[in-house]
């Protein structure tokens, strides 16, 4: 593993460089009951926006606000019904500028 020669920025600062026009309702819904007995938890490592966070009681905490709407989570998820994935309402969600 190569060590970074300069400190990386925090994830909050990183995701803060992108813009999100957040809608008041979630476009992705995660069923915590299904996740509770999932041991592989692909979403936690794969989601580029780091929206899936394991909780101490073995559950998964999910935030929809700073989502790139890429689709990685539902594609890597192995559990039927765990993730209900939609695009946010038109006009809301991520807005790229220099991509």
């Amino acid at each position: 593993m190569i060590e970074s020669p300069w400190p990386e920025i925090s994830f909050e600062d990183r995701i803060g460089t992108a813009s999100f026009n957040v809608h008041h309702t979630a476009h992705i819904v995660v069923d915590g009951k299904v996740c509770a007995d999932c041991s592989t938890r692909e979403c936690i490592v794969a989601c580029p926006a780091n929206l899936f966070v394991p909780t101490s009681d073995g559950g998964i905490l999910f935030n929809y606000e700073q989502c790139f709407e890429c689709g990685t989570c539902y594609m890597v998820c192995n559990r039927e019904g765990a993730i209900t994935w939609n695009y946010p309402e038109g006009g809301y969600g991520v807005v790229f500028k220099r991509t």
Binding site: P5, R14, T17, E42, A46, T72, V76, G90
Partner: protein, 433 residues
């Protein structure tokens, strides 16, 4: 009577080109985009190959929002401590009609959509298409949007809704879903002064550089890239989904790892992150191709998995623009002959087969699998770089070993079977040759 002739879903390169063609053919066309403006949801590595635009916007280079013209293209094979680069440059690529160009998608896609509007297409932004309408015969007859009173009918719907295409899936045009057909692209746009970029990358003016990297993605199969914009650089990775999900490093950690590589660090050092972004790529080419037409519906661009992606080889925008253009032509033709069934829309597949869109895909059909294979990803970089290292190393007083000997020794040391090497070599020749 339907409300309009054609509804194009998604104002990416595919959708805008479809709309340009249809509007110029005098068809009433509505282009629906879910983002607040075209390009706002779109992210890619960074190089467009716009020659296909010669057919739609003559001298497009005079007005397209281009950052730099790629005159230098490097392919880098690396391990944690070594790197072997093939570096090519051509000044011809810095003058009309050019070859590749770096551009920001929120600029490029918005510009292309402006041409659709100028041609007479109606652009509706901030509106997500949530489903398809069907007539009594089960033919697609329009779309449902997320707006009140949100249904709209048309003779043909062209789905240009990108890699996740829920419309194509809803219509059953895709075969069985397999996450292994997709890669995740993540990138950082890093700000650096223009003269620093010019100096580090050895270019001047609006000349730019495209670096593709293999062997930089840790245990995950994929590839890396660096592209120069005017005063930013794009540094990113393309990661095979199942492999990414099966290990422990997060995407941004893998980028940090690439940025720390001794061959990369001097290029990116001090760059301030201006934007972090991510997007999926349909990576499997022809082997994941959906049915491209249904009754009253066509698929174009990433929605049809027409992105030509083979690890480090990434051409999607040109395939999207071309397929969108041909879909527009086929739809106009079908409406003229009053047959928008699959049979009436057959001109689409015919055009794709006759041009680079499907010809290139067929030629490179083995490439995605080969480039992302475990051997190419995890064994060949070590093999190639250590052969180079030994060729260039002066081991006095030992005499120089012959190249053939080095190759044989290193192959054995790295653990590549001769049979596999021959097989992959042949596959490479067949794909790229």
């Amino acid at each position: 009577m339907p409300d309009v002739d054609v509804i194009v879903v998604g104002a990416g390169p595919a959708g805008s080109c479809a709309a340009i063609v249809l509007a110029r053919a005098g068809k009433k066309v509505v282009l629906i985009e879910r983002g607040p403006f075209p390009g706002s949801k779109n992210m890619y590595g960074g190089v467009v190959y716009p020659r296909i635009l010669d057919q739609l916007i003559p001298e497009w280079w005079l007005e397209a929002p281009i950052q730099r013209w790629v005159t230098r293209r490097s392919t880098m094979i690396m391990t944690d401590t070594k790197a072997l680069t093939i570096d090519f440059r051509s000044q011809a690529w810095g003058a009309p009609p050019y070859n590749g160009a770096t551009a920001y998608r929120p600029d490029f896609d918005a510009w292309l959509a402006d041409h659709a509007v100028a041609a007479g297409a109606e652009l509706i932004c901030s509106t997500t298409v949530t489903g398809l309408l069907h007539d009594a015969n089960g033919h697609v007859s329009g779309v449902v949007t997320d707006r009140p009173d949100g249904e709209l009918t048309a003779s043909v719907v062209i789905a240009c809704d990108g890699v996740n295409s829920f419309l194509a899936k809803q219509e059953g045009l895709y075969g069985e879903f397999d996450a292994a057909n997709y890669t995740l692209g993540v990138k950082e746009t890093l700000a650096l002064p223009k003269d620093v970029i010019d100096e580090r990358f050895g270019v001047r003016g609006t000349d730019g550089v495209d670096i593709e990297i293999i062997g930089c993605t840790g245990g995950v199969n994929g590839g890396g890239f660096i592209y120069t914009n005017l005063d930013t650089i794009a540094v990113g990775l393309v990661l095979k989904l199942p492999k990414l999900a099966a290990q422990k490093q997060r995407p941004e950690q893998l980028i940090a790892r690439l940025k720390a590589h001794p061959a990369i660090a001097p290029l990116v050092e001090g760059g301030e992150i201006k934007e972090y972004s991510a997007h999926l790529i349909p990576e499997a080419g022809i082997s994941m191709l959906p049915t491209l037409a249904g009754n009253g519906i066509l698929l174009a661009g990433d929605a049809a998995a027409l992105c030509l992606a083979a690890g480090i080889w990434l051409e999607g925008v040109n395939f999207a623009m071309a397929s969108g253009m041909y879909a527009g032509q086929a739809a106009a033709e079908a409406i003229r002959s009053k047959d928008t069934s699959v049979a009436g829309l057959a001109g689409y597949q015919r055009r794709l087969e006759a041009t680079f869109v499907l010809k290139d895909h067929r030629k490179l059909r083995r490439a995605p699998e080969l480039v992302l294979s475990d051997r190419v990803q995890h064994l060949y970089p070590e093999f190639a770089t250590s052969v180079a290292e030994r060729m260039f190393r002066v081991d006095n007083p030992e005499p120089k070993p012959g190249v053939r000997k080095i190759v044989a020794q290193e192959r054995k040391r790295v653990g590549i079977r001769r049979r596999d090497l021959a097989k992959d070599g042949l596959a490479g020749l067949r794909s790229f040759g």
